[in-house]
Amino acid sequence: MHNLRAIYIIWYREVLRWWRNRSRIIGSFGMPILFLFIFGSGLSPAMGGLTQGMAPEGAGIDFVKFIFPGIIGMNVLMGSMMSGISIVWDREFGFLKEILVAPINRTAVALGKTLGGSTTGVIQGLLLLIFAPLIGVSITVGMVVKLVPLLFLISFSMTSLGVLIGARMKSTEGFQMIMQFILMPMIFVSGALFPMRNLPAWMNFLVKVNPVTYAIDPLRKIIFEAQGLPAFVLEMLPQAGLGVTLFGHAVTLGEDIAIIALFGAVMIAVAVWMFNIQD
């Protein structure tokens, strides 16, 4: 019980800090707006309809609609990984010591932190849905109901990765490096921003081994499914590079979730283990 309460209060602090930092919440919209409206709108005419020849004119998926789920995923990824790494801030400003000398389990500390980051990650992902009407994506209740647990799972995995990185990091100086060499590459080779069709072999390989690919794919499946496209079009999406295929097999929603859940389980286990190491 004591450890559960400890998880709760650590979670609560994360959420409270996030809520109090309004400027950061607003700031988190910047990147998605740039990608959706500048990058997306700019490239859309050149790309043409991505479902050309499959769906009736006007009902298909253009580039902006295609990257929309990717952008949601990207926002969740950045937000949750950074909140995991924020453990380094706590260390630098001394607050982590207060937590570490408390008579609670280190596992509770890692879990509280991770659940806090997951919660704010889900909210940050859902907030982006307000842009949906602007780019012609329709929102249904069913879609949102499915998105919430999925976003939570994605966010949980990525926060765990953040906590894992932050667990042994001594200063915030490495933040920039992690952004450049871990987070951005993971997003770029995940199929979040371009269709996975006719890719060079090396890149195709990277996309398929990148866990983020399997986080973006189910988002896309759930959002596209709610767009009233004919069933045969949805089935053809993987062929068009709008879904993941593995060894010629189109990965299903269930398989995506299984992969991301497995990734999340490994990450949280390693994060907890790293956190339990004592000098």
Partner: protein
């Protein structure tokens, strides 16, 4: 029974031996001080006692619990005020205390009452709804002391409790600490590099290069220096030094532009000294021995009270730059 017992404790960081085979005990209800310069190993000992670091060898018990085998029980028995601030700037005073109370399993029914109690003790009750980022350095320290007491610990660790605070705030904080001992009978373990602060302790261990050089009450330690300390400036210090050791038989320490030596009943000695010294005296002064003299006697060096090392000053600066405001020479 001793509340803290340390036996042959050693802690190494790579090749560096930060704590070197230290043994001591602290009795319940006493104020026990570690006095020593930066890097002497004071904080490392605290970190081992509060279970943040494992000893390389040796053992330690706190409140009867072993610091490696019974970590959770040790942690419940202690309150800590770290050398570096450890409050969450973005939470209010009340929120910081509540966080602590839950982590230390203070029963829900008792939380509000204890919070009021400790906040009133450090005179921050009126500021309980305010964010920590609006607090001065002294206020933060007081709140940290209040927080350390929320769960009624048996031992309160104060690691350099007044480092970087102005003298007025320092005195105020010591008022609270002394009150606390009076009222709660709590054991206080403190580290400091300020001589004046060490005087408050019942017993002091002087620590240097990871070893306890000597451990006793402040009075006894001062007694070890021998007598009063006379400082003279003369027209010719070298000649004067020679004369003093030959004519009077004292061992003379040469300062930068003065000489000092120890003498029993200095006030009676001065008239005779002035009369007999063949060198012209520019100034002469006498003072009772301080712990600084004790430190000098046992280590051959001085700890200067107000002098921070270059590295510390740099750290302070970086921190205040990061935090924007608050930390440092704040007023209560």
């Amino acid at each position: 029974m001793a509340i803290i017992e340390v036996k042959n404790l050693t802690r190494k960081f790579g090749d560096l031996t930060a704590v070197d085979d230290i043994s001591f005990t602290v009795e319940e209800g006493e104020i026990f001080g570690f006095l020593g310069p930066n890097g002497a190993g004071k904080t490392t000992v605290i970190n081992v006692l509060c279970t943040l670091l494992k000893p390389t060898s040796g053992e330690a018990w706190l409140n009867g619990y072993h610091v490696v085998r019974d970590q959770a029980k040790v942690r419940r028995s202690i309150g800590l005020v770290f050398q570096e601030p450890s409050l969450d700037d973005q939470l209010t005073a009340e929120e910081n205390l509540n966080f602590h109370a839950i982590l230390y399993d203070v029963p829900a029914g008792a939380r509000a009452k204890r919070m009021e109690e400790v906040l009133k003790m450090v005179e921050l009750y009126d500021r309980r709804k305010d964010f920590i980022k609006t607090f001065s350095g002294g206020m933060k320290r007081r709140l940290e002391i209040a927080r350390g007491l929320m769960h009624y610990p048996r031992v309160l660790f104060l690691d350099e409790p007044t480092l970087g605070l102005d003298p007025q705030t320092r005195n105020l904080i010591w008022e609270y600490i002394l009150q606390l001992r009076e009222r709660e009978g709590i054991t206080i373990f403190l580290t400091t590099q300020y001589m004046g602060e060490a005087e408050y302790a019942d017993r002091i261990a002087i620590i240097d290069y990871g070893k306890i050089v000597i451990l006793d009450t402040p009075d006894n330690l001062r007694g070890l220096v021998g007598g009063d300390i006379i400082t003279v400036k003369t027209m010719d210090d070298r000649l004067a030094a020679q004369e003093i050791s030959q004519r009077f038989g004292f061992q003379v320490n040469e300062g930068e532009n003065d000489l000092h030596f120890e003498v029993q009943r200095g006030e009676e000695f001065i008239p005779r000294f002035v009369e007999q010294l063949p060198v012209e005296i520019l100034s002469i002064s006498l003072r009772r021995p301080t712990l600084d003299d004790v430190f000098l006697k046992f280590t051959g060096r001085r700890i200067r009270d107000e002098e921070l090392s270059a590295k510390d000053q740099w750290k302070e600066r970086m921190k205040s730059r990061h935090r924007g405001r608050g930390h440092g020479r704040g007023h209560p």
